[in-house]
Symmetry: C2
Subunit: 201 residues, 2 copies
C-alpha cells in the first residue's frame, strides 16, 4: 500500500511585511486543522517593488492607504488575538534574519524562528536586522547558532534569499503574503483560509 | 418609549469596480442578517486615482496584480455563488448610470438598480454607459424613467456624483468598495463582514 503525501501550501513572506505577520502567526495551526503541510518561502519584497518603479512600500508611498493600513492592522490583530504594536520604523529592514531563514527554509525550526522575528518587529518594535539578533534567536531555540550561521554562509546556501526573490519575481508575485497551492496563487492574509481549503480539497 | 434607530453602514462603490460588484450583490442580505441598514454611496474612482497620479485602475497599471485579480474574481464569485464573466472592457465607464445612482442614492429602489448595473458589467459584459441603458433599467424596475431622469438632472441633484466624489476624497478613500461605520473606515469586500459585525456590536 502506497500512501499519498499530504497536500502542501507554499507561504511566501518577508519579515518587514505587516500582513505577512498575520499569516506567519496563524498559518501552522490553520494548516494543521486542514491536514496541510506548510512550506515557508522567505523572499525580499524590496527588489519586486523596485521592479514596479517604487522606492519603498506602497503603504509609505500612498499616504491614504498607509493610514488605513495601520488602523486595519490594529483591528485584524484584535480579531486574531495577536499582540500588536505599530513599528516605529516601517518597512523594517531584515536582510540578516531573512538570509538565514532562506538558507534554512526546510529546517524543522523554521516556523518558530519566523514567528519570533515577526513578533519582534510587530509586537515588540525591535530592530531585527543584526547578526546579534539572529544568533540570539537561534540560541533561544536551543540551536548551535554558530553552526546554523556558517551553513547559511556556505557556498551552497549563501544565495538562497536572492534566488528565492528571483523565483518570486518570475512567478509574478507582487506583494506578501502570497500563497501557492498546486500552482494557483492566492494573495494576502485574507486568502489564507481559501488557499488552505483549496489545498485540502 | 423612544426606539433606537437601527445601526447603519455606508457602502461607497462604483459600477466600474470589480470588487464593488461582490459587495453590491451581497450587502443587503448580509446587512439584514445583522439588523443593519445600508446607505448606498456611489462615487467615481477615476478622480481619486488621478489624484494619486494614476491614469487608470491599478489593475491595468500593474500587470502582475491585474492578472491575479481576474483569477481572484473567478474564485470569489464561485465562493459567493455569483455569476461572473470577465468584462471585455475594463475599467468600464459608467458615468450616466452613476449620475442617476448618486442623484437617487436614498431611493427605495437604489439597491435593485445598482445590482442590475453591476450584473450587466460583470456577468453580462454589457456596455452600460448610455442613457438608453439607464432608462431601460429604470423602466424594468417599474419606474417612470423620464421622471427619474429629470430629477437627476435638476439643479438640486445634478452635481450629486461630483459632490459625493469630493466627499470621498476628503475622507481619504483610496479604493472601492469602502465601508464606513460610525466614522471607521473598512476597505475592500473582504472587510464587509467585519464592518457589519462592528455596526451591529
Amino acid at each position: 500500500m502506497s500512501s499519498t503525501p499530504p497536500p502542501e501550501i507554499e507561504f511566501w513572506f518577508e519579515f518587514g511585511s505587516n500582513y505577512s505577520y498575520l499569516s506567519a502567526m496563524r498559518i501552522e495551526a490553520a494548516a494543521s486543522r486542514h491536514g496541510v503541510v506548510v512550506r515557508w518561502k522567505p523572499f525580499l519584497l524590496g527588489p519586486i517593488f523596485q521592479s514596479f518603479g517604487w522606492s519603498t512600500s506602497p503603504f509609505v508611498l500612498q499616504k491614504e492607504k498607509g493610514a488605513y493600513m495601520w488602523k486595519d492592522m490594529e483591528r485584524q490583530c484584535a480579531k486574531y488575538t495577536l499582540p500588536w504594536r505599530r513599528p516605529s520604523v516601517f518597512p523594517r529592514a531584515a536582510t540578516w534574519p531573512m538570509k538565514v531563514a532562506a538558507a534554512h527554509a526546510d529546517a524543522p525550526w523554521i516556523a518558530r524562528y519566523c514567528r519570533i522575528f515577526m513578533t519582534k518587529n510587530f509586537a515588540l518594535d525591535e530592530d531585527i536586522n543584526s547578526i546579534e539578533q539572529v544568533t540570539g534567536v537561534l540560541t533561544g531555540l536551543g540551536l548551535d547558532a554558530q553552526a546554523v550561521w556558517e551553513q547559511a554562509q556556505s557556498d551552497a546556501r549563501r544565495n538562497s534569499l536572492r534566488e528565492a526573490t528571483a523565483i518570486a519575481q518570475q512567478r509574478g508575485l507582487f506583494g506578501a503574503p502570497t500563497f501557492f497551492v498546486r500552482g494557483e496563487m492566492f494573495w494576502g492574509n485574507d486568502r489564507l483560509d481559501d488557499a488552505l481549503a483549496f489545498a485540502a480539497a
